[in-house]
């Protein structure tokens, strides 16, 4: 509950933030703080300087792009995603997922950038952004913007493509395929709670699956695409049976962690279930049960 002694600064611009972050070795950006403040309370990691980026205007915008995609500032909160007309219009699933992250208080402060940069394998947004083929826009003090595919962004527990002195500034989400759709499925400890297994999917096609991205989370340190299942889906009819066939056995090749909430075996068994449900939701076919 009680943090170690720390310095705090609240820059007004991204440039100032980058200056602070690059000047000091123990500096870390503080966005919504809904994970980082806990980390600091429990003193499991040490930070010397907190650079509060939560009020920098340019990080707080949601822009509907002309191509039907979205450009989302890193400090947009879950609640803002949930309530955004632009997000609801182009990517309703993203709004729904954000609207079911934990609770109202966390949604009011937690940010999309923070959710990604903490890169906790149980976090809600990383697998969805990988499935949606989002691009992470990272800036450094030298002024350049480095674009990293979401798929390559998440390295592992609390480790991402953001380097020292860099800042994730925004996330570009391309338009959904047409025809096509996205899906998402979670098994969690309690409702809107810690995830035990999760999958997100993006499917292109109508009647027949032309292409699919299937991303699993909680099975490894970072969200992972399941290329085998994606290949099995390509060209398959968009039916619950075909999806189930493509998902069958995908857990066997996985080596997920086991913990007090879910053993390795159980997670393996959940992999095809969440993957199937996510894909079925993406193709608008609930299959044999709730999505």
């Amino acid at each position: 509950m009680l943090l170690e002694s720390v310095e705090y600064a609240r820059p007004d611009t991204v440039e100032q933030a980058l200056t602070l972050l690059s000047q000091r070795e123990g500096a870390a950006p503080l966005a919504g703080g809904q994970s980082l403040v806990n980390v600091l309370k429990h003193r499991v990691a040490s930070v010397e300087l907190l650079v509060d980026i939560s009020r920098i205007d340019e990080l707080r915008r949601i822009e509907a792009r002309s191509d039907g995609g979205l450009e989302i500032g890193a400090c947009v909160t879950y609640d803002e995603l949930d309530g955004s007309d632009a997000v609801r219009a182009s990517h309703p699933l993203l709004a729904d997922v954000a609207g079911h992250i934990e609770d109202q208080q966390i949604r009011d402060r937690g940010t999309i950038g923070g959710n990604c940069c903490l890169s906790d394998p149980t976090n809600n947004l990383p697998p969805l952004l990988v499935a949606l083929d989002a691009t992470m826009n990272i800036r450094s003090r030298s002024g350049g913007v480095r674009q990293v595919a979401a798929e390559d962004f998440f390295h592992g527990y609390f480790s991402t493509a953001v380097g020292e002195g860099e800042l994730l500034c925004s996330i570009t989400v391309p338009p959904l395929p047409s025809p096509g759709g996205a899906g998402y499925s979670t098994v969690s400890l309690g409702a809107d709670s810690k995830a035990l297994a999760r999958a997100a999917a993006l499917v292109r096609g109508n009647g027949v699956i032309e292409d699919a991205r299937v991303v699993l989370a909680c099975f490894s340190a970072a969200p992972m695409r399941h290329h085998g299942m994606e290949a099995a889906l390509r060209g398959a009819p968009a039916t619950a049976e075909a999806v189930a066939a493509a998902a069958a056995g995908i857990g066997d090749g996985l080596d997920p962690p086991g913990d007090v909430h879910a053993s390795t075996d159980y997670r393996r068994a959940l992999a095809p279930v969440v993957a199937r449900r996510a894909v079925c939701q993406a193709i608008g076919n609930g299959g044999d049960e709730r999505g």
């Binding site: 943090l3 403040v37 509060d52 109202q104 809107d192």
Partner: protein
């Protein structure tokens, strides 16, 4: 606050009253409210931002004051349970909690009142499902939430409008 420092001078309003303070950067907002301001209505029930007993409204948003530094409150407007009925009379929401037995030990109650206030501002006529979702972040160990949900239902929508009329 562009410059890094271990203490910061902050200014904010709390329940409409302007306040100035110098706070250590590491001090959580909840400890500032309780220990420095001596306002005891905002409670602490966990150390992971899970229980919601410390919920307050900052700039119109419901937040857990244990998940925010006091320094981050600079320039904001904070509302706490003490501000709900400053003149001592109970608000319709507080009355509903009394009538529906929406509290037992009362420790989670201030946080729940803030969560319910936030909900009713945003959605004056919520369904039971919407109420349950709105208080997902507030743990109560006494009531099983049954009478809390009833209290918020009673304070909301047509029932409340009728009473006010």
């Amino acid at each position: 606050m562009v410059d890094a420092a271990t203490t910061h001078a902050i200014e904010y309003t709390i329940n409409g009253e302007r306040q100035q303070a110098t706070v250590p950067a590491r001090r959580l907002l909840v400890h500032h409210i309780r220990d420095t301001l001596g306002m005891k209505g905002t409670h602490i029930g966990c150390d992971t931002g899970s229980c919601g007993a410390c919920s307050v409204i900052v700039d119109g948003r419901l937040v857990k004051s244990c998940m925010m530094l006091a320094a981050q409150a600079d320039g904001t407007a904070i509302e706490t349970v003490e501000g709900l009925a400053p003149d001592g009379a109970l608000t319709p929401l507080q009355q509903a909690f009394n009538e529906q037995h929406g509290l037992q030990c009362g420790y989670c109650t201030p946080g729940l009142l803030m969560a319910a206030s936030f909900l009713l501002r945003r959605n004056p006529n919520p369904s039971e499902a919407e109420i349950r979702r709105a208080i997902r972040g507030n743990i109560c160990r006494c009531t099983g939430y049954v009478n809390i949900v009833r209290s918020i239902e009673a304070a909301a929508g047509p029932a409340a409008s009728e009473r006010a009329a």
